[in-house]
Symmetry: C2
Subunit: 554 residues, 2 copies
């Protein structure tokens, strides 16, 4: 085995929130941890999803032993269908995580070809030179696992997402004893998540939400609508409990709410009393004070149930004046305005709305600084790699690690693709890099949208397009017609008839003035028209539409 | 005078933050309060600015007595140049406000035609039937005024933007005595701003920022950069003071910072010791611990100084490892991601960054719930109109008014254009409405961008455009060429050659298959091609580009 080395790398998940994908490799054994997707921000016009670049895995297909998944959130499982289309590898995950993955594979028609393995905190997996074990953590979805890799170069621990909730809504408790044991045996390298590394203190228990939820249910005089993340099964359970305690039936609105409640109930993660769950149609016949509704859309998604309720465009239910609406989620950065608009609309309908951080209807699923320090202290790693966060989060997490005694020279803040290498007991950042990047998914296209297309979309979105069709004679190159000019997204046509005449005249004049030698050289003709028209339009309108001259030879 | 009535209306500023514009009219005397602009959100693609619709004023041009401006923020003065291009009316504002308006008019070449009048809290203006007086308030810009209108139907008060800062950085103190006096004499209708109506408690004094600023300056070992709102002259003064106390010279980066510091210093609102202000070029020669920099860009604006510093693309200065950067502003909703990206980049450069609400380098300029209640209690109005806020803010403000004793039936939550009418002592919401809406400014075009153009931009931004040019013979309608198809923002061309061939074939086949009677009817031909191609492309790509068939007859 001499000459072999341990590699640890991120294919996604550092310097970003989303598309988590890490790998641990020793000799010819590669284990992948998570395969997430990320939602695009507004600069990626028209893009549906971003997934990690897995070229390294495709080039080492015979070495990939399996994909271990820490939990069932989109930023950890959303890329799996796209991965499996390129690479068929066995997947190892806990029961609920596997249930959610199965749902996803069913949608993509990939279920039958994939080998799925259910694991828990007591499982041991042998991947050649690497033995893999697990430990229970708490997070905003049940059944989360941290992962321990025993390698010839020492123990590597990946925490997954976690908080330390000592009063969790459902079991299990955070397995402090197991973590202490792992730390005591010695951790060479720790990878720990950094989402809340900027936040002082200790994240409150999910039970805090439950007590405020109960209070809101008791005070509600008519129907009560609760919008939250469908995947937060703990919170769904607290909604179920509050509804049960106040004598309300429960109905579900939104595709993902129906799906998650289905999976969670079937697998025993959600306990709903018999006969409590009813269809929206039945809810209409109930006295309002006996009805509760769980719905999607807490992030202000325009097509989700809450947004439709606020716009009175949900075809199943309608908000009545006096109804209560709870938004049990904080807006993720970027979603504030959409959520605010929904609150405005709900108030206009006469609803009582309980929202925002002061309502205490939401707690984070991620540990704050004291919890990150607790994890670091339990694991007492020699080397530390903060993961799962934007740069400032990784930076703050590294300061926390220093504060609890990790040698600052043994902390690596990575970029996606960077490699930490351990060989013969020495750990250092390798000079090599793996291919890593963002693959853009748009409709059925995966990776076919590049910078050129996005740049075009940006120009089109800001100032529209102006197309001018020039018809030339094949025989003598002479202009056959006056040019045909059409615009979209540039200027309203009724205001622009004179402008279009001016443009057509300008194109005609430009062609007539062009040097004989350049006529017939279509690239030069097109560029000249672009330049002349661009200048003219900018002077006239201070706008820069895309100008597209099309030359037709007849 | 019998038969006359008092009208109060908003042309902008309710159900929104931005483009404030209110009017008070009695008989033939119209007084306008403020004329703001609003920045578009991301749904208004390519739009630069939004201004109020002033049709009502244009139709009653002979009745408009003047524009009274409460303070110099963009949402109160940003629309003035566009208003003056349509309607030349005298402007009344305090000294600093007027200085900022003058700057703006100079840029638009409108300075000489406009009659500008400097007022203060002791001014009295006679506008026919309405006598107008003022009172001092505090806000995040100096020289703010509340406005009192004495009309035959009673007294109307408009607060402008305010907080109650009992320890303001510069004078004046909030004029509680004057406000008490106004309230004691009797206020018929109060219009009060609602920005922080959702926030409990009392907004901290601007001085709190000063103490944290001083501390940060003392701890900085190298250069210190402070980014904040240029218009917050109080805060600029505190930066000047902190720099002065720690023996630093000060330099300015960013056009609006240079402009506001110029105006504020010239008018005596900003006290900068002689020789302290230096050019960026001189700063390069100073020892780092003797240098402070005030810069724009605290909202993450991509072209502003802070963003350029973070990207190492500012041509005047560069961040060095060990420099300190203070972001003395909270991100306005929608700007969180841009600010976070800047913080990431600054950390990557090795800077110490102090940012976010926990840093206490920012306090709001708007009063919180206790201050709104204080204003309501001082003024004890019979009728109340919450203004300057999105609907949920107006709603919460109306609850506060109820709580301090205003009769809920005497509270009006208006939409822009709604009219509150007082006649013979009776106040009610009129059934009439004024024209009110948003006028979109795009480059030089004012109001020429409508829903059609925006809808087109939205489609173009998401999926691009596909243009297919069909050349027909003028004599027999026969297809002369294979169609010419071009796409932009749809799919990367190198991946799509086969697709383009398929499209051209499909268009040719479609035309051949079309009924003889429909050929020659261009609208039918175009619609058929759009339908067939749209369906084909959606099946192939799950994208919906704009499809633009162009028919050329030669």
């Amino acid at each position: 085995m001499s000459g072999e080395r341990l590699w640890i790398a991120a294919l996604g998940g550092v310097n970003e929130i989303g598309k988590n994908m890490y790998l641990v490799q020793y000799a010819d054994d590669i284990i992948v941890i998570d395969c997430g997707a990320k939602f695009p921000d507004e600069s990626l016009l028209g893009i549906d999803l971003i997934i990690p670049d897995v070229s390294y895995l495709l080039n080492n297909i015979d070495k990939v032993r399996g994909l271990v998944v820490t939990h069932g959130h989109e930023d950890h499982i959303g890329g799996i269908p796209y991965l499996l289309k390129q690479l068929n590898i066995p997947i190892y995950a806990s029961r609920l995580t596997l249930g959610l993955i199965e749902n996803k594979l069913k949608e993509h028609g990939l279920l039958r070809q994939t080998s799925l393995h259910c694991i828990d905190a007591d499982s041991t997996l042998d991947f050649g030179t690497i033995t893999t074990t697990f430990f229970n953590t708490n997070h905003s979805i049940p059944d989360c696992l941290g992962v321990v890799f025993d390698t010839p170069e020492g123990t590597v621990v990946h925490t997954g997402d976690f908080k330390f909730d000592m009063t969790p809504v459902n079991k299990p408790y955070p397995d402090l004893h197991r973590m202490a044991e792992i730390g005591k045996k010695g951790v060479k390298i720790l990878l720990s998540e950094s989402t809340n590394a900027e936040r002082p203190g200790f994240t409150p228990s999910e039970r805090l939400v439950g007590s405020h939820m109960e209070e809101a249910f008791k005070n509600a005089e008519q129907r009560i609508f609760v919008s939250t993340f469908a995947s937060n099964v703990h919170r769904l359970q607290q909604v179920v409990d509050a509804a049960h305690h106040t004598g309300r039936k429960l109905t579900l609105l939104g595709r993902s709410m129906v799906a998650v409640v289905g999976v969670a109930q079937e697998l025993g993660y959600l306990d709903i009393p018999d006969g409590m769950l009813i269809e929206p149609a039945e809810a209409a016949d109930l006295p309002p004070e006996q009805c509760a509704v769980l719905c999607t859309g807490s992030q202000g998604e325009p097509m989700a149930a809450l947004s439709r309720l606020a716009n009175s465009s949900n075809r199943l239910m309608e908000i009545q004046a006096g109804d209560t609406v709870l938004i049990a989620a904080n807006p993720i950065p970027g979603n504030e305005r959409n959520v605010a608009r929904i609150v405005d609309n709900l108030y206009m309908l006469g609803a009582r709305v309980i929202y925002g951080s002061r309502s205490e209807l939401h707690v984070s699923g991620h540990g704050s600084q004291e919890e990150l320090k607790l994890m670091l202290t339990l694991m007492k790693p020699e080397y530390f790699i903060p993961v799962h966060g934007e740069y400032r989060m990784l930076h703050h997490h590294s300061l926390l690690a220093e504060a609890v005694g990790v040698n600052p020279e043994k902390i690596f803040i990575l970029k996606n693709g960077d490699i930490v290498e351990a060989a013969g007991g020495t750990v250092r950042q390798s000079g090599k890099k793996l291919t890593a990047g963002q693959i853009l998914v748009d409709g059925l296209g995966i990776g076919d949208i590049g910078n050129v297309v996005l740049r075009d979309r940006r120009q089109l979105s800001a100032d529209g397009i102006l197309i001018t069709v020039i018809t030339l004679s094949q025989t003598d190159g002479r202009l056959l017609n006056s040019p045909d000019t059409i615009s979209r997204g540039f200027i309203y046509i009724r205001n622009s008839e004179t402008l279009m005449d001016e443009i057509n005249q300008l194109v005609t004049d430009t062609l007539h003035k062009m040097h004989k030698a350049d006529l017939g050289q279509w690239n030069i003709m097109k560029q000249t028209i672009k330049d002349v028209l661009g200048k003219f339009l900018y002077e006239k309108t201070k706008r820069r539409p895309m100008i597209l001259p099309i030359i037709i030879e007849v």
